[in-house]
């Protein structure tokens, strides 16, 4: 088993416990996110890289449901040409389309949105994403994604845990296990408004990895971001001075116990109170965005009703990123599932996230954070080029698009393709396992070497699969 969390050597620690009468309060209440990163002078853990990392951290923007690639990033003129005609080959089994319509291979549905090339790179983006389009030259598309699972449960499991039964540690937990935290006052893995359905907590869980690798969460995808907070972070009925005094006495009593037992387990608990106090001093400020300027908030779309909530989520992502959280996930509610009403639904959903995501890219760039942060924008699966019902598209795990941006990946680049109708990934296919392998690679981790012994077997995020997509690396 790989041991990556090396604490201060016990000798020093014991010495400290024995000699300091009351060093607790001084450490306990530091503030301001800006100071946090520098406060991490003695890191909580030392990451063990397998090779030089290209990014220090990841922001994963998860679109819960399936975003239609053929209406967003993967233009298919054949859909226009053969709109209403039958797909000339057999599609996937177990789709609702097949179950409900029983209409052969299904009929093609043209896209409503106009595709245009953007930027110097000339990447195709539809007018469903006007703000993102301005960042074309910073994006790296993978248009040949495929995954397992035609139902949400399985596909959500695949994207988060690399397993369609949701019984494995999540990507963020693996990253936390592999690299530890950059900031000893904060956890390594934070999930802002994670999905509550389709596996819920398992999508940010640690499964058999030690429990502290699971995400610290803020609310869930259905909650209002402004109300989301970390559990028990704040004491509602006592003044902070009172609590500090209480913690000092607790520390004295615990120290007495430690001196009697000299047990490192006891020390571990004492240490957890110290870290909790530090976290309590810092995290509330981190979550509080009221100090962000109006113009920054506007950059994220927080000045408009439609974009304010997701903008808030993205802004939190930047703040956690700045504070040194390794793996930050931001999720939309479960909204991307247009089996019907594609135009109305996708229009509304894209409106809610387009500006905030674009704002996040701008802000990270301005602050120089894009240089060591990898952004991954992903979804469960794409949607079929054939129509479901009157005006919908079904799930399509066989071909879809994700994009990456920032540290470690080429910019203004497009990798892989689907067939001429956008149904099946065709050239340079990239499986979800490959995407995971690539994310770990960019962080300096060899996905085949990051293993954990559980029940007699060495497990890894990518199971026995996964190849790094070298072509997209910068």
């Amino acid at each position: 088993m790989k041991q990556c969390h090396q604490f201060t050597p016990d000798i020093t620690r014991r010495h400290w416990l024995e000699t300091t009468a009351c060093g607790f309060g001084a450490l306990a209440f530091q503030a301001f996110a800006q100071q946090i990163a520098s406060a991490a002078d003695s890191p909580h853990s030392l990451p063990v890289y397998h090779h030089a990392p290209r990014a220090k951290r990841v922001i994963f923007l998860f679109m819960h449901g399936g975003v239609s690639h053929v209406d967003s990033f993967d233009p298919k003129p054949m859909l226009t040409r053969f709109h209403g005609k039958e797909l000339p080959f057999k599609g996937l089994d177990h789709l609702d389309v097949a179950l409900k319509d029983k209409a052969g291979n299904g009929r093609l549905l043209d896209t409503t949105w106009k595709f245009q090339q953007h930027g110097e790179s000339g990447l195709w983006i539809s007018d469903l994403w006007p703000h993102l389009a301005k960042h074309a030259d910073e994006l790296c598309f993978i248009k040949s994604m495929h995954t397992r699972g035609t139902s949400h449960g399985q596909a959500v499991g695949m994207v988060h845990t690399g397993n369609d039964n949701l019984l494995r540690p999540s990507v963020g937990a693996w990253v936390s296990y592999g690299l530890g935290t950059e900031n000893r006052n904060l956890p390594a893995f934070v999930s802002v408004t994670p999905p509550a359905g389709h596996g819920g907590a398992r999508n940010y869980g640690s499964s058999f990895l030690p429990a502290h690798h699971q995400a610290t969460t803020l609310g869930h995808s259905g909650s209002k971001t402004a109300d989301a907070t970390i559990e028990y972070l704040q004491n509602t009925d006592s003044q902070s001075a009172d609590q500090q005094r209480q913690l000092e006495m607790l520390n004295r009593i615990n120290k007495k116990h430690f001196l009697r037992t000299r047990d490192s387990q006891v020390d571990g608990v004492i240490r957890s109170y110290e870290m909790a106090a530090r976290m309590q001093g810092i995290a509330p400020d981190l979550i509080d965005i009221s100090n962000e300027s109006k113009s920054t908030q506007a950059l994220y779309g927080m000045d408009r009703k439609e974009t304010t909530d997701f903008g808030h989520r993205c802004l939190l992502a930047r703040r956690f990123c700045e504070a040194g959280v390794r793996y930050i996930q931001v999720s939309t509610p479960y909204i991307w599932d247009q089996h019907g009403g594609l135009v109305k639904g996708h229009t509304k959903n894209a409106l809610a996230v387009d500006k905030p995501i674009s704002g996040l890219l701008d802000d990270l760039k301005q602050r120089g954070l894009l240089e060591d942060t990898l952004i991954v924008w992903g979804t469960e699966f794409g949607r079929t080029p054939v129509v479901q019902g009157k005006d919908g598209r079904d799930h399509n795990p066989a071909g879809f698009t994700v994009w990456l941006s920032g540290a470690g990946v080429k910019s203004g680049y497009s990798h892989g393709s689907t067939d001429e109708f956008g149904y099946f990934a065709q050239d340079n296919k990239v499986h979800m396992h490959d995407l995971h392998a690539t994310i770990l690679h960019i962080l300096g981790i060899n996905h085949e070497k990051l293993t954990y012994r559980y029940a007699g077997r060495d497990f890894r995020l990518t199971d026995v699969y996964g190849e790094v997509v070298k072509e997209i690396l910068s």
């Binding site: 369609d164 028990y232 913690l247 037992t261 957890s272």
Partner: protein, 942 residues
């Protein structure tokens, strides 16, 4: 040295056996910690089967590899480091090639290799070849492994202490009484119990005190409420599915309570297992037993399932896989799941053995049916339980009431049909000419035919025309139906064409129809003959068609168009008569009554229970190549693990028409099964000593650890079986041992894991013990057992949107024992989850121990801890007593010991300071109580 000597004596009796002697164990450990990692990291890249490379013809990933050697000759000669090529290569001082080529091994590593070879180059990888190499599983060789060997037998009297030689003194009374209570019932002793224990400890003897109290505690219902939780960890128990559709398991609680009862009734463990695997197939003497056995199979049922898996064949295989893996880990300590796709890489379990057993479980229906009308979503099997006498009587009474009411309704309906028949001509909206986007609706129940039509505001114009062909000319009463009620048009314009011409009428559709709750008469008209009525103005002979038109013109609300009715005036009287015959015309009232009655039905209790497949013939299963559902290999006859055999185990046969679950249960619980008893005694030992004799309590295979005290493990297992698999007897024997009663100490440097059990272990108290103790100390613990605690949730424990029942956010307000808390997957109560409640998806024999800030935040900030601290404060400040007395009481109640001088001084200092700052005495005390609840001493069992 003298320790080693005593161990050697201990092992002298078993030298003939194949398992490791302590000396060998040390060498193995050395290999695993110092040699193997270096080989893997620095050598495998070029010298292993997996890498596909064997540079210089050398494999270093198996013992056979270096024994054969490479092109240059013998790489390692055991006992002779100087002659071993590998040493020359890594120390780069010979004329051989220098290895590894691009990096130098550390001095430490070179010394380790030299030492390892000098001491005989013990390499466990020789037991089989490279773990990555494809090879047929050798069952015979596999049986040589310790855990598959038959248990040792013992003659004469033995005790646990004979095998351990405990060295630490017996714990002092205060520590011992707290440990005993927390370990056996998960609650601290009361002050009276404490006093009584101290008295016996001092006046009679410590043995007597422990003995007496152990017996008392084992007899309390709190014992089962503590110990059942350990089994529920292993049974991955939860009250909801988790997975993709997190549906509530409304009946899972019956299984939870079954386990509690099993511990409290001291149900023999072999029986306990048989019931959980095949309770539905076991004979039952009475209905209680039958029910209990059905409920027991909940063990197979409470797993998380991918209910929306659209490939149902795959889903059933996945479920059987999960069940088999659970049985493997929970009962045998084996990871069978690994053999689903390929022969087990480490344990002697071929894929064919896996499918032999998976075939048994594949004959069992766990997921079944369709939920929510969606063919993609499966439900699960529930079985009616046999009802008790009282429930049965209630159900019968209810049934007869129901039937009577239904009969009355039928009667009414018949009468109504008769009256309608009398009542002449009806034309429904389906027969009418419509223009405009009328919307079909059934919202209002009182309508004719399947549905009626309604307008949507702003979408008109709407129009509808009914035409009725009348049997004879004459005067008719015209009635219309429109449901009636708020929201409808108060001015619906009707036009009637009759013998006298056209009549325009404006009808208020918000009123209640007057006839049969359905019809509203709007006037009498002549059709086809001259009029003699004031309603009719002109005479147009020859017309036998009645025409009625309705539009939404100027209508303020929704206009409803249903049917029209024309009743000849001569028939009106008959109609009145027929209504008199059935006086209670308001069918609606009766129907409502029926609905209410139906909801009040005494519920037929159901259990989440396994049952054999009724639709498909029971039989064998095909191997699935690489585990893929659609990739069929050969069919394998059902059977059991060949490697875990005993005399006679091969003779068990499973015939067609039988699932084989019964035989599986019997095979598992045979007295001579090499694993079942060993695994369970190890689990029980682990709970009482903090560490299993086999530390990997769910893995007794090759990748697990070997037992620290193999003889003791076998002795305990033998005793366990000999005592009728009694769990209470085993627990009693352990707590009565000196080994258990030793003081808890911190492990020494030479035995950091206290493998030798030279003292008790200081262990973090489990989540349930922390929570229940806090409640008990505060006097807030509700000791009543619970049945279902999730019935308020409805179908979804957590909806896909994330919406969850508010009660799930308020579990901190619950006061029942932790075992009765709702365990919804993904929303486990924070007070438990934060303190390492295991992941409810997985079999967990050994909980993770974490010390994370979240625990500290909970103790510091949760309203639960603060409320409980206040409750304690209220109790101790009821009477006017000194601060010192209060501190004394608090230490007794919370830490179960007397306060010493420094405790007093710190406590007084703190409380006084707070009171000087203006806090009231109860506030100051509560703050101090919270400190004691948060203290490390409280959070550990010593």
């Amino acid at each position: 040295m003298c320790r080693l000597a005593s161990i050697l004596v201990l092992f002298a009796t078993c030298s003939a056996n194949s398992w490791a002697t302590p000396e060998q164990a040390t060498k193995l450990e050395f290999f695993e910690s110092r040699i193997r990692p270096v080989l893997v990291k620095h050598c495998y890249r070029c010298h292993s089967v997996e890498s596909g490379k064997s540079k210089g013809g050398l494999h270093l990933d198996s013992r056979a590899g270096w024994q054969v050697g490479g092109d240059s000759g013998a790489t390692i000669i055991p006992g002779k480091p100087d002659e071993s090529l590998i040493i020359a290569a890594i120390s780069r001082n010979g004329d051989t090639s220098e290895m590894p080529p691009s990096e130098h091994l550390s001095k430490q590593a070179i010394d380790d290799f030299t030492k390892w070879i000098a001491e005989g180059a013990v390499d466990p990888r020789g037991r089989k070849t490279s773990v990555h190499e494809k090879q047929t599983v050798n069952i015979e060789a596999g049986r040589e492994f310790w855990s598959f060997q038959p248990r040792r037998t013992f003659s004469g009297e033995h005790s646990i202490d004979d095998f351990v030689h405990p060295q630490a003194p017996r714990g002092p009374a205060d520590k011992l009484v707290r440990r005993l209570f927390l370990d056996l019932i998960g609650l601290p002793p009361t002050q009276d119990e404490c006093r009584e224990f101290h008295r016996m400890y001092d006046e009679q003897s410590p043995e007597e005190a422990v003995n007496t109290f152990a017996n008392q505690l084992l007899a309390r219902k709190e014992f089962g409420e503590k110990w059942a939780r350990h089994w529920l960890d292993v049974a991955r128990y939860a009250d909801s599915n988790g997975g993709d559709f997190n549906l509530t398991f409304p009946e899972a609680w019956r299984y939870r309570n079954y386990v509690i009862d099993a511990f409290n009734d001291d149900l023999p463990y072999d029986r306990f297992i048989r019931e959980q695997i095949a309770g539905d197939l076991l004979p039952a003497g009475n209905s209680d037993q039958r029910n209990r056995q059905l409920i027991a199979t909940g063990f197979l049922m409470v797993s998380p399932k991918m209910l929306t898996e659209r490939d149902k064949a795959k889903m059933h295989l996945d479920i059987a896989d999960e069940q088999l893996d659970t049985i493997g880990r929970a009962i045998m300590g084996l990871t069978l799941g690994c053999a689903r796709c390929h022969d087990h890489k480490f344990d002697p379990i071929p894929t064919s053995d896996y499918y032999a057993m998976a075939g048994i479980l594949h004959n069992t229906r766990t997921a079944d049916g369709i939920l929510m009308g969606n063919v993609n979503v499966s439900g699960w099997t529930e079985t009616d339980l046999i009802m008790g006498e009282e429930t049965r009587a209630l159900a019968a009474a209810h049934q007869s009431k129901l039937e009577k009411l239904q009969a009355r309704i039928e009667q009414q309906k018949a009468a109504r049909a008769a009256s309608q028949h009398v009542a002449g001509i009806i034309v429904d909206n389906t027969k009418a000419e419509q223009t405009g986007p009328w919307r079909k609706s059934t919202y209002r129940p009182n309508h004719v035919g399947d549905h009626y039509l309604a307008t949507d505001k702003g979408k008109g114009p709407y129009s509808i025309k009914w035409k009725a062909t009348l049997p004879k000319p004459g005067k008719y009463e015209l009635r219309v139906s429109f449901g009636g009620g708020s929201g409808l048009a108060s001015q619906a314009p009707y036009v009637v064409r009759h013998a006298g011409g056209e009549t325009r009428l404006v009808i208020d559709q918000t009123v209640k129809p007057t006839i049969n709750g359905l019809w509203y008469p709007i006037g009498k008209f002549m059709f086809g003959t001259p009029a003699a009525d004031q309603n009719v103005s002109t005479n147009q002979p020859g017309m036998t068609i009645a025409e009625v038109q309705l539009t939404d013109e100027n209508a303020s609300g929704a206009v409803i168009a249903d049917a029209i009715q024309l009743v000849h005036v001569d028939d009106l009287e008959k109609e009145v008569q027929s209504q008199k015959d059935s006086p209670n015309t308001d069918l609606k009232i009766l129907e409502k009554e029926l609905e209410t009655l139906k909801t009040k039905a005494p519920k037929v209790p159901q259990a989440m229970a396994a049952r054999d497949h009724a639709k498909q013939p029971l039989g064998d299963l095909h191997i699935r190549i690489r585990g893929e559902a659609g990739n069929l290999g050969s069919k394998v006859p059902r059977g059991f693990l060949q490697v875990a055999s005993y005399v006679g185990s091969e003779e068990v046969t499973i015939s067609d028409g039988e699932s084989g679950r019964l035989q599986l249960a019997q095979w598992l619980t045979h007295a001579d099964h090499p694993l079942t008893a060993r695994v369970m005694v190890n689990r029980i030992w682990q709970q009482l000593l903090g560490r299993g004799l086999v530390t990997t309590s769910d893995n007794f295979g090759l990748r697990g650890t070997t037992p620290s005290h193999p003889e003791l493990l076998d002795y305990l297992a033998e005793e366990f079986v000999a005592n009728g698999w009694s769990m209470k007897s085993l627990i009693r024997e352990i707590v009565r041992s000196k080994t258990y009663q030793q003081t808890a100490q911190t492990a020494s440097e030479d035995d950091p894991d206290n493998v030798l059990l030279r003292h008790q272990n200081r262990r973090p108290a489990p989540a349930e013990t922390i929570r229940d103790s806090i409640l008990a100390i505060a006097g807030e613990l509700d000791r009543k057992p619970r049945n279902s605690v999730v019935e308020q949730l409805g179908m979804y424990a957590i909806a896909t949107s994330g919406k969850r029942h508010e009660s799930l956010g308020q579990t901190e307000k619950l006061r029942q024992r932790s075992i009765y808390m709702p365990i919804v997957r993904g929303a486990e109560p924070p007070s438990l989850a934060i303190f390492d409640l295991p992941n409810t998806d997985l079999v967990t024999g050994t909980r993770a121990v974490t010390t994370v800030p979240a625990q500290a935040l909970f103790m510091m900030n949760s309203p639960f801890v603060r409320d409980m601290a206040r409750a304690v404060s209220v109790q101790v400040t009821k009477e006017e007593i000194s601060t010192e007395d209060i501190i004394e009481q608090l230490y007794q109640r919370i830490l179960v010991r007397e306060a010493d001088t420094s405790d007093f001084s710190m406590g007084k200092e703190y409380i006084t300071r707070l009171m000087n700052d203006g806090k009231s005495q109860p506030e100051a005390i509560a703050s101090f109580v919270q400190i004691l609840f948060s203290s490390t001493e409280f959070r550990f069992v010593e």
